[in-house]
């Protein structure tokens, strides 16, 4: 039998039962007999939510059944299957309401049956906040009592609300397991129709918490699909009625996981998982439920208070040192099917197998998977490892990539700290902080020297090289969007950074990749996408879309900015800039000074003096704040001729940027050792001496057009 036929026949069977039951009830009580569920203002909740019509008497119930009949179309399309599923659910509600006629109490301990509105308001808040991360609907009889208990307990431990229908209720009772709303395990009833009481919860939640208008079936199903994280676990054997109910669940967006072999699977909706012990993992993955981890299971404390802690040699149990032996830390984005969540593997000896005070190899590879994960986020996550590992009490971490060093203190070791705890810390921290992009995470820690050598040279270094290459080839032209950053508006209200691959935020801390990751992780946060589809002037880097974004984000304070000019509509500066660049009229060039340099510049002003006229989110032609990295960018004041204009920098800054700046100068102008032509405070701090020096060096700026 096809899935269509199964659903249709199940639906027909339930419809027949319902029709008979209603007719019998009318015969007994008359059509005017009032019917309702207790303690709800939405009676009958499911029918009311779907149609917008309230049903109060048996006569009205019969009419409603006529409406249900119209849903039961019989073409072999998914729509018909879903609607027949909904029709089955509504029939179940009708059968259930008949049980409550004359104020009867059809359900007895431990079963709940219909749940009052007050329960929904109470459960709704934790559901909305995610404190209840999901709702499991378990239906039927588990293969064994032990499996029934284990499954329910696994959900309970995750804070998931469990509702039970059918024989599993007896199985739990047999095992002596306590149930009840306060334990978040709610037995509904033994008949399969009692499943409607949890559907009723979901639909009333949509009316109460989603402001859905009763009768707006489209938005109702959209709401349950997007906002009610419910799923169904249905035990074999499945009959037509259960499958028809399942179709109703799927119509509401709730996947059905079953151990019935041979069922016609529907991806992400109807899934066969023969192993009941894997129901939990399969269900959570199918419904995209992420469990928040609140505590890290390690024998020492974990807090930012320990971040600055230093482990001296004498206090050290062992160390791992990338400058002497092969070490590496690496994040790899992989496909979800390749990894098992929360698996931590140690390859090689653990800390207790290492000699006291010894120097060892370590390589840890954190594999992550997620629908929104991109390989561009790998370094963003990896950069946080330093911070995570340092927050462990008695453990110290410096460096990054393959130049890292970790020390584990004697006290931490004696408290029971081992390598798997590093894995635990990495796992929990990555899952918590990057939950928007990471769905699954697996950690492998290598200490076997040969393995570490292999990981470092065959896996890590090629990856790092590839990333560096990507950064080098990432140009403003090669991307489709830029990002805004308005983190600094708290104190610089009209400032907006436009972050491009070749122009990082002026604080130096937000690269285009960082901004992209920030946008993914916090879609309403400070970094928003700026399109660049409507260029106005390529020379100075002005775009209509960029101007619109800047106008909006500065609340109208800024009208237009250019990305590549210091003279025409320059970008504003907040106050966090690493460097300030200012026009030096005698040489046709510019002077750059950095925050760390306290001395005088040839402009006759120090950094603080320059900062006072550059910052505050205003456009000051001739001056701009920028990050250190921007100095070697090909886009550095491109409109005015680029880096050739740089005539002076403090020596320390010059040395820091020399290698990259010289490379750019060579590429763009064929100049060797460009920084040798650039003055510094050991050469001149006044314009006359500086110009004499530049003349002697034949600095290219001298021959360029004046900037104003």
């Amino acid at each position: 039998m096809t899935l269509f036929e199964t659903v249709f026949s199940g639906n027909d069977a339930v419809y027949g039962l319902t029709e008979n039951a209603i007719n019998a009830a009318i015969e007994q009580h008359g059509a005017d007999k009032a019917i309702s569920f207790p303690n709800t203002a939405y009676s009958l909740p499911c029918y009311y939510a779907v149609t917008g019509v309230k049903v109060g008497t048996l006569g009205e119930l019969k009419n409603a059944l006529g409406v249900v009949k119209t849903l039961m179309t019989r073409e072999n399309r998914t729509h018909d299957v879903f609607m027949s599923g909904v029709a089955t659910a509504l029939c179940a509600e009708f059968i259930e309401v008949l049980k409550y006629i004359d104020g009867a109490t059809p359900y007895e301990e431990p079963c709940y049956g219909h749940l009052a509105d007050a329960v929904i308001r109470e459960l709704g808040v934790p559901l909305v906040t995610g404190d209840i991360p999901g709702v499991a609907v378990i239906l039927g009889k588990a293969p064994t009592t032990e499996e029934a208990v284990a499954l329910v307990k696994s959900y309970q431990a995750q804070g998931i609300l469990v509702t039970l229908v059918g024989d599993i209720i007896d199985q739990l009772a047999e095992a002596g397991m306590k149930t009840g709303a306060n334990l978040r395990v709610i037995p509904l009833g033994k008949d399969v129709t009692s499943v409607i009481h949890v559907v009723s919860v979901a639909l009333r939640a949509a009316l109460i918490f989603g402001n859905i208008t009763p009768g707006d079936a489209g938005n109702l199903m959209k709401y349950t699909m997007e906002r009610v994280p419910a799923f169904v676990n249905a035990f074999a054997p499945l009959n037509d009625v259960i499958v028809a109910c399942g179709a109703g669940a799927i119509a509401l967006g709730f996947p059905v996981i079953t151990n019935q072999e041979g069922v016609a699977e529907v991806p992400k909706s109807l899934i066969c998982q023969p192993d009941v012990s894997k129901f939990n993992a399969t269900s959570l993955e199918a419904r995209d439920i992420k469990i928040k981890i609140t505590n890290i299971d390690i024998p020492v404390a974990f807090a930012s208070a320990f971040e600055g802690e230093i482990i001296r040699r004498g206090d050290m149990q062992v160390e791992f040192d990338g400058s002497r032996v092969d070490c590496a830390e690496l994040v790899q984005a992989v496909d979800a099917s390749e990894i098992e969540d929360h698996k931590i593997t140690i390859v090689g000896p653990d800390v207790d197998g290492m000699e006291l005070g010894s120097k060892n190899s370590i390589a840890y590879v954190v594999k992550v998977a997620g629908k929104n994960m991109q390989s561009d986020f790998e370094p963003v996550i990896e950069r946080k490892f330093h911070n995570y590992i340092n927050c462990i009490e008695g453990v110290y971490h410096t460096g990054q990539r393959d130049m890292l060093r970790i020390r584990i203190g004697k006290e931490a070791f004696n408290a029971g700290f081992r390598l798997k705890h590093i894995g635990e810390v990495l796992y929990v921290s990555v899952k918590n902080e990057f939950d928007a992009v990471v769905d699954k995470c697996e950690v492998t820690i290598y200490t076997d020297p040969a393995e570490c050598t292999r990981i470092r040279h065959e896996v890590a270094i090629p990856t790092f090289d590839k990333r560096d290459e990507r950064l080098d080839t990432l140009t403003d032209e090669s991307v489709d969007v830029y990002y805004s950053c308005i983190l600094c508006q708290a104190f610089s209200p009209s400032h907006v950074c436009v972050v491009t691959p070749e122009r990082l935020g002026l604080c130096g801390a937000v690269s285009w990749l960082d901004a992209k990751a920030t946008n993914q992780l916090d879609p309403n946060g400070p970094c928003q996408v700026i399109t660049k589809e409507r260029p106005i002037d390529e020379r100075i880097g002005e775009y209509e879309d960029v101007n619109e974004a800047v106008q909006k984000l500065s609340q109208g304070a800024l009208q237009d900015v250019s990305l590549y000019s210091i003279m025409e509509k320059p970008m504003t500066s907040c106050g966090c800039f690493e460097c300030i660049c200012g026009i030096e009229p005698f040489s046709n060039g510019v002077v750059i000074t950095n925050r760390e340099y306290a001395g005088m510049t040839p402009l006759g002003m120090t950094f603080p003096e320059l900062a006072s006229m550059t910052g505050g989110g205003v456009q000051t032609p001739g001056f701009m704040g920028h990050g250190k990295h921007f100095i070697s960018s090909k886009k550095f004041m491109k409109a005015e001729g680029g880096i050739e204009r740089i005539v002076w920098m403090p020596k320390e800054l010059k040395d820091t940027v020399a290698e990259r700046l010289n490379k750019t100068a060579k590429e763009m102008y064929g100049i060797d050792n460009f920084t040798d032509m650039v003055g510094d405070e050991t050469i001149a701090t006044d314009p006359e001496t500086l110009v004499a020096f530049l003349t002697e060096k034949n600095h290219p700026a001298l021959g360029m057009d004046p900037m104003m």
Partner: protein
């Protein structure tokens, strides 16, 4: 040349949010001009004044406040008295005793206080938590529940707990929700965005964008409110069109000008006058910057600000 007045009327307006029920219900917001620019267009609703009471009772050493509440001993009596204050539009109950670093009153105890106040007053009610995020996350949903049908304003949902407070107050129990941020237009906006994404109707949100006493970094407050009203009106940014409520009393009465005794600072004059002065100046300034409601403590401040609003309308 004759003066030619050009009204600066915007095609956008601040949301009108009603708090309370019946005759005494109040409306916050609704304006389509800058604060008190009545020459551009009439202000839809006058800014409102709330009187702050605390679950800790009258802890004040200020004679004017002690005298006003004379004879009132229970929190119900205090609240009843507060609503009779000349110029008061609503009562704001602060549950400061819930603070785990202070009296750490239990939630049940605090809910009893809320019930008592709700029964005692007929004016609209605003309830503020204890400022401790964890405690408020538990407390405020319960407050929203116990005030069902009162159409109260529950303060405040913050970035850390907006889901619990927003879902309970804004969705489950149909109250109005206060959205609190710390003097930053972007954070204020972001909170409104995530709260509406949660499902809370933007028309049910009142912003508390943070404040300071005058002279204590107050220019940040002015700039934030100014820019919020600017974006709401001139850019029609509907994520910033929520009316603003500002808890002035708490800020104004906890700075040294309002706390140092006369013995310590004889040259500053009487303590009570200084406190009132701080409270009045702060309130006047936040109203002029765009607040649609202020929460005050001293009867004389309430009377003064009430008079100011009437004169400016």
């Amino acid at each position: 040349m004759p003066f030619n007045q050009k009204p600066q009327k915007f095609n956008a307006s601040i949301n009108t949010v009603e708090i309370g029920c019946g005759d005494k219900a109040i409306k916050l917001g609704g304006e389509c001009t800058f604060p008190f620019y009545t020459f551009d267009a009439p202000m839809e609703n006058a800014p409102k004044i709330g009187v702050e009471v605390s679950d800790l009772g009258i802890a004040s050493n200020i004679p004017g406040i002690q005298k006003f509440y004379e004879g009132a001993s229970t929190i119900g009596e205090i609240a009843k008295k507060a609503e009779t204050m000349e110029g008061a539009d609503f009562v704001c109950l602060r549950l400061e005793g819930g603070d785990p670093n202070g009296e750490d009153k239990s939630i049940d105890e605090l809910i009893e206080v809320v019930k008592e106040v709700a029964e005692a007053v007929t004016c609209p009610l605003v309830v503020e938590g204890c400022k401790n995020v964890e405690k408020d996350t538990e407390l405020l949903p319960k407050v929203a529940e116990v005030l069902q049908g009162k159409n109260a304003l529950v303060m405040s949902a913050r970035e850390e707990n907006y889901k619990a407070v927003g879902a309970a107050a804004g969705l489950a129990y149909n109250q109005k929700v206060g959205a609190e941020s710390a003097v930053d237009i972007n954070l204020a906006k972001q909170l409104n965005v995530v709260m509406t994404q949660l499902g809370v109707n933007g028309q049910d949100i009142v912003m508390n964008v943070g404040s300071a006493a005058v002279g204590y970094g107050f220019e940040y407050v002015v700039s934030t409110m100014d820019r919020i009203k600017g974006a709401a009106l001139s850019q029609n940014d509907n994520m910033l069109q929520m009316p603003i409520i500002t808890a002035v009393a708490d800020e104004a009465w906890s700075v040294k000008e309002a706390m140092a005794t006369e013995e310590d600072m004889p040259e500053w004059g009487p303590l009570e006058e200084r406190g009132i002065s701080m409270e009045v100046q702060t309130a006047a300034a936040v109203l002029a910057s765009g607040s649609d409601a202020v929460i005050l403590k001293h009867p004389q401040s309430v009377a003064t600000i009430s008079k100011m609003i009437k004169e400016l309308m």
